[in-house]
């Protein structure tokens, strides 16, 4: 529905280089990248704020590259909301309808609709300065959604909110999307924000899109070490890969070799999700190919999960539930076994260092 063809733009210190993307109808599409990757510039260019140096943008087959933002029917909500401070909440939401010359009766109906969807009727008389972050967020969403945009662009909508409000916004956004059928493109630098709701994600780095795909696919098969590190996959082990029948053996510079179901030979980085590592105090028979013995070197508790780092010759991180961890009775220095499947190991080719 929204197609971007080799878009390039440089603006101040930020640039977008040769970006091509296709966002599908009614999709929740997320662009992930570290700060300074050019995500906001890309979003603003889609909205029509900046005209690209080269490339084209199509919305439902119609080229909009040089169309004025006000005619595009693309809504935008910024990280810090950008509610007009000199207007009340109601005037903020009505701003777009007034610019578009919507009749008064219609305005009232649409205002009512947006307010009940976001549950902000009680805020209408207030001014933005007196609202909490979460309330401002909902008002900003209402202001954009009241115009029934074809695409809604969200610039880091979670980052200024506390954990609880964040959870709430997440459910709200997926509800809004179901309710309105609006296609949503969100940018973020934090994977946790969107893992649950994104249909597809694109990873952006230094102005380029480095990987696009269905969310689980990208998570399980990061295309390079940058993506893997960025997504926070627990284990990344450098080594050389050699074939052994229909699977390969990864030999790290230090520590034992292990199996991976891949056919990439040569220098590689093997990634393994921390939650795919099973920790036990004694070896056990299983279908998993890899069972490495080591000592616990570090235990880090995060909320309901515990990260256990095991030195098997190289450091290996396992993610356990707190319950699980308590049952194991392990502590730094304990001798343990780390078991994981060859299919859990994802292999990315790299230039030898």
């Amino acid at each position: 529905m929204l197609r971007i063809e080799s878009l390039s733009i440089t603006l101040g210190g930020f640039s977008v280089r040769d970006v091509s993307l296709e966002v599908r109808e009614n999709e929740y599409f997320v662009i992930l990248g570290p700060t300074g990757a050019g995500k906001t510039v890309l979003l603003e260019t889609i909205a029509g704020i900046h005209s690209p140096d080269s490339g084209k943008i199509f919305l439902r087959g119609r080229e909009i590259t040089s169309m004025e933002p006000r005619l595009r029917n693309i809504g935008m909500v910024y990280q810090d909301y950008m509610l007009f401070p000199h207007l009340s909440v109601q005037e903020n939401i009505l701003f777009g309808l007034r610019r578009k010359g919507v009749p008064m009766a219609e305005q009232a109906r649409m205002l009512e609709g947006a307010c009940s969807m976001l549950e902000i009727q009680h805020l209408l008389r207030r001014h933005p300065g007196s609202l909490s972050g979460g309330e401002q967020q909902r008002v900003a969403l209402a202001r954009a959604l009241v115009l029934e945009p074809e695409v809604l662009l969200l610039d880091e909508p979670m980052s200024a909110l506390d954990r609880r409000t964040r959870e709430r916004l997440r459910t709200e956004l997926s509800r809004i999307r179901k309710l309105t059928g609006t296609t949503i493109i969100q940018i973020t630098h934090h994977f946790d924000d969107v893992f649950a709701i994104a249909d597809r994600i694109a990873i952006m780095r230094e102005g380029r899109i480095v990987q696009v795909g269905e969310t689980p696919d990208v998570f399980l098969h990061p295309s390079d070490t940058f993506v893997a590190e960025f997504l926070g996959i627990g284990n990344m082990i450098r080594g050389t890969s050699s074939r052994d029948g229909d699977i390969s053996v990864i030999t790290p510079p230090a520590g034992p070799a292990f199996y991976a179901s891949s056919s990439v030979p040569g220098s590689v980085v093997a990634t393994l999700h921390a939650e795919d590592v099973i920790v036990s105090t004694a070896p056990f028979a299983s279908s998993a190919r890899n069972c490495l013995c080591g000592t616990v070197s570090e235990v880090l508790a995060f909320g309901s999960t515990v990260r256990v780092v095991i030195d098997v010759g190289f450091p290996l991180t396992a993610l356990l539930t707190r319950e699980n961890y308590n049952e194991l009775h392990i502590e730094p220095g304990s001798r343990v076994y780390a078991t994981f499947k060859a299919t859990g190991v994802h292999v990315i080719p790299v230039d030898p260092e």
Partner: protein, 257 residues
């Protein structure tokens, strides 16, 4: 340290207060009122008000787009332009006045304007021209800083909500810059009321023709009529006081976006 600095503070406060109070209290109230009612002072008050209000309005209209461009856009020669626009800030008004006098009196452009009926030299119109020239840099400065504190993303959002470029400016940035515009207006107007050097050069000092309040003060001191000079000075002090209070009030009420 504390004692010395407090002592000097009181000393400065009492010194300034006593000197200004001495001026205001120089003539007894009935005499002061009579002098204020004299035709010459009445004329000066009206002329000063009219020229300062008009010149301030011109400053606002010209400075808003210029200040906006300096705050928002990058363009060739921006550094030089902003330096040139700031120069009259540090220039003695007398020098600005001479430059204006030469421009309108001797250059072909100035003569062409005069031919077209734009008579500046030794006319009330000259007062307005001089006031605009001297004061517009202040207005541009204040508005520029007002505009640059407003995040351009407010306008971006307005555009995605259906505003044109101009609409986004008029409906969002301009109202948000209101405290800055008010402060700039008050300062520009009070400076216009008190402008002397540039006005003297361009419009001359003709009694009951180009006689603003400061010119009235100057003419009457020159002719030894101290009472009328004091009346003019008293009004100028009142204007300064009102301006100061207005700026303080606006400063406190200013909302930082």
């Amino acid at each position: 340290m504390r004692k010395i600095s407090l002592f000097l503070t009181y000393f400065a406060f009492i010194g300034i207060g006593a000197i200004l109070a001495g001026l205001v209290l120089y003539s007894p109230l009935p005499a002061l009122l009579a002098n204020l009612a004299s035709p010459e002072i009445q004329f000066a008050i009206v002329l000063s008000l009219a020229t300062s209000v008009i010149s301030t309005a011109i400053c606002i209209v010209l400075a808003i787009p210029v200040a906006y461009a300096l705050a928002r856009y990058e363009f060739a020669g921006k550094r030089v332009a902003s330096l040139a626009l700031a120069l009259p800030l540090t220039l003695p008004p007398l020098v600005a006045g001479i430059a204006l006098l030469l421009f309108f009196g001797t250059t072909p452009w100035g003569k062409a304007l005069e031919q077209a009926g734009f008579m500046v030299i030794f006319t009330p119109l000259g007062i307005i021209v001089a006031e605009v020239f001297v004061n517009i840099p202040y207005m541009i400065r204040i508005l520029r800083s007002a505009f640059s504190t407003i995040n351009p993303r407010y306008e971006y959002v307005a555009k995605t909500l259906g505003s044109t470029d101009t609409g986004a400016f008029l409906h969002v940035t301009l109202p948000m810059a209101k405290p800055g515009i008010l402060a700039g207006t008050v300062i520009t107007w009070s400076k216009a009321m008190g402008e002397f050097g540039a006005v003297l050069m361009v419009a001359g000092a003709t009694t009951l023709r180009t006689e603003t309040l400061p010119i009235a003060l100057y003419l009457n001191i020159s002719t030894g009529d101290l009472d009328l000079a004091v009346a003019a000075a008293t009004i100028l002090i009142l204007i300064s006081l009102v301006t100061l209070c207005a700026v303080e009030y606006l400063d406190r009420g200013a909302i930082v976006y």
